[in-house]
């Protein structure tokens, strides 16, 4: 048994190289001087190349110069980083304000037709963005919101995915607790605020972390609904960088990764717990 465990850990270590290497590549890439990048990996990015790409475990002359260049000489980077925040933060806040109470109803307050309505939410959740963008576009166009940050924020706020995850979190709260609260005279609103919110927090937080990652990551939404580049988030800026700015691209990629990575490191306990919750309660609803 002990021997087996060691073997399993070994296999896991080998497998985890796939994810750790990517992180390593990005961090080291950001510390590598430009001419070294050009010599090692740029052949891959050119149409015709006689050379092959290579890669070194460590840069031969680590430097912070690309980072300094990005932070000091690239104002557009800050604008787009900030644009990304302006799109993602309201979505997270909106999802909390709107999905958290709605999910409570789907989990704990039965009414006629609730199951059918929930099915509608589920179907909307499964539809890919490329399908919902058509109805979204029709409304945004009619409301005159196209090309404004609201065009990305509002459809995101009313996404049904956080409702689903939060409901899963609430489902694990025992009904007896609510019945006891009701006997003590707590109304349905009161039990949502004093029982649902605190006990459903792992589910809520994991939905918000997932929603935040999703919003920060968004490519299609801003690409389709934001015409003017002045509103573009960092995710679109990165896809526009060319080989000539290889060093810059490396650092910018790492900066793009930084916020979700921090969020992940801080919230991973809740995230894992919350993802797990969506399973553990699926049998008693």
């Amino acid at each position: 048994m002990k021997k087996n465990r060691f073997l399993f850990i070994l296999v896991l270590t080998i497998l985890s190289a796939f994810t750790v290497w990517v992180l390593w590549f990005m961090v080291m890439g950001a510390l590598t001087p430009k001419d070294e990048l050009l010599a090692t990996i740029s052949p891959a990015l050119q149409e015709q190349s006689a050379q092959k790409s290579t890669w070194c475990f460590l840069p031969s002359w680590p430097t912070l110069q690309p980072l300094a260049e990005l932070l000091l000489d690239t104002p557009v980077f800050f604008t787009m980083f900030w644009n990304g925040c302006k799109l993602a933060a309201p979505q997270i806040l909106g999802q909390f304000l709107i999905a958290a109470p709605a999910a409570w109803v789907f989990s704990k307050i039965p009414f006629p037709g609730r199951k059918l309505l929930y099915m509608v939410y589920l179907v909307l959740m499964v539809l890919p963005f490329q399908i919902t963008m058509v109805p979204n576009y029709l409304v945004l166009d009619k409301l005159g919101l196209m090309d404004t940050p609201m065009a990305v924020i509002l459809p995101g706020v009313f996404s049904s995915f956080p409702v689903f995850i939060m409901k899963k979190g609430y489902d694990s709260i025992p009904n007896e607790l609510l019945e006891a609260a009701a006997l003590d005279g707590a109304g349905p609103l009161r039990s949502f605020v004093s029982i649902g919110l605190p006990l459903g927090m792992p589910g809520i937080l994991s939905a918000l972390v997932l929603g935040g990652i999703e919003a920060w990551n968004a490519i299609e939404q801003p690409m389709m609904f934001l015409k003017s580049t002045s509103n573009w988030p960092l995710s679109l800026y990165l896809s526009e960088i060319t080989v000539d700015d290889l060093g810059l691209a490396m650092v910018a990629s790492l900066m793009m990764l930084a916020p979700p990575l921090l969020l992940f490191l801080v919230g991973q306990k809740y995230l894992e717990q919350g993802i797990g919750l969506s399973i553990s309660s699926s049998s008693n609803s």
């Binding site: 497998l15 050379q51 058509v134 409702v163 995710s235 990629s253 699926s282």
Partner: protein, 300 residues
């Protein structure tokens, strides 16, 4: 009123009427912001989408099934549909299998394997835009993977220009989602009572017998939910495909998402509304069938 109360959850049957009314008012209050948004941004405009699928691009003149005919006869639509179905059909079973194996491995490896959960969850956090450069560096003709193949004396592969592109996309999907699904599986596996395994091992069952007799039936509800979330995530590979290979990638990875994207940018509203209606109808039909034959999904 009797008739009305009949439909209400048993928990509320014995309550006085006013309390029921209070509950209903609370439900309305909590649910309506979300409901209004969903109706305004998704449901109502979808009615308009269906209406427009029967009209010309301006949405004025009724053209019958002309849009549907155009979509059906469109070659790109057929290729994209075939690719998307193939992609979903291959990647979801592969992902479910891989992540279940990972979950079993982690559990078997004992408490020391805890950090690996986070390590495997990492790819979910890494933004697509950050990955693009690495993707290109890995899979270009003169890329790192080909350098490796060269060292191993294997012919280089043109990953992005041949049918290999499809498999690169599958690999990306697996890499990105294995950790998330693994966490789901672990939670599902934790729910199976240990006593069942102990009883089976007293009876002399081996690992495989225990898996098929205890684990497999025990994880059915998890399977339903994990498959659903995997499906949702499978549509998101478009980002990787688009950022790396552009709006018109190699034919083997041209997905329905590409098609919708391109039609939308060309403002072909007639076709896109018809195609969207078709896709939703097909999804609803498939969901209905699954719901009928697979009772576990009801718990979702």
């Amino acid at each position: 009123m009797r008739h009305h109360i009949h439909h209400v959850h048993p928990r509320y049957k014995k309550r006085p009427w006013s309390q029921n009314q209070q509950t209903f008012a609370a439900a309305l209050l909590l649910l309506s912001p979300s409901l209004v948004g969903v109706i305004l941004f998704y449901l109502l405009p979808f009615v308009e989408v269906v209406r427009r699928s029967f009209t010309d691009a301006m949405g004025r003149r009724f053209v019958g099934l002309a849009n549907y005919q155009a979509v059906w006869q469109n070659n790109a639509f057929r290729i994209a549909t075939a690719n998307t179905v193939k992609f979903v059909g291959i990647c979801i079973p592969l992902l479910l299998g891989t992540s279940l194996a990972l979950a079993l491995l982690i559990r078997a490896a004992g408490p020391k394997s805890r950090p690996f959960r986070s390590v495997f969850l990492l790819p979910m956090v890494i933004p697509v835009a950050s990955m693009v450069l690495l993707w290109k560096v890995l899979f270009a003709k003169a890329g790192l993977v080909n350098t490796l193949l060269d060292i191993a004396n294997i012919e280089p592969v043109d990953f992005m220009g041949t049918n290999a592109a499809f498999w690169v996309l599958i690999a990306t999907y697996l890499w990105k989602n294995s950790g998330y699904d693994m966490i789901l599986w672990i939670a599902g596996l934790d729910r199976i009572p240990v006593a069942q395994y102990e009883a089976a091992s007293v009876d002399g069952a081996n690992g495989w017998q225990m898996f098929w007799a205890i684990t497999w039936p025990g994880i059915q509800p998890t399977l339903a939910l994990t498959a659903l979330l995997s499906l949702i995530n499978s549509f998101k590979v478009f980002r990787e495909a688009y950022l790396v290979a552009g709006a018109y990638p190699h034919q083997s990875m041209y997905l329905l998402q590409h098609l919708f994207n391109n039609w939308f940018l060309n403002l072909e509203l007639g076709r896109i509304t018809a195609a969207a209606t078709l896709v939703v109808l097909v999804l609803l039909a498939v969901a209905g069938i699954i719901l009928m034959i697979w009772r576990h999904i009801k718990n979702i």
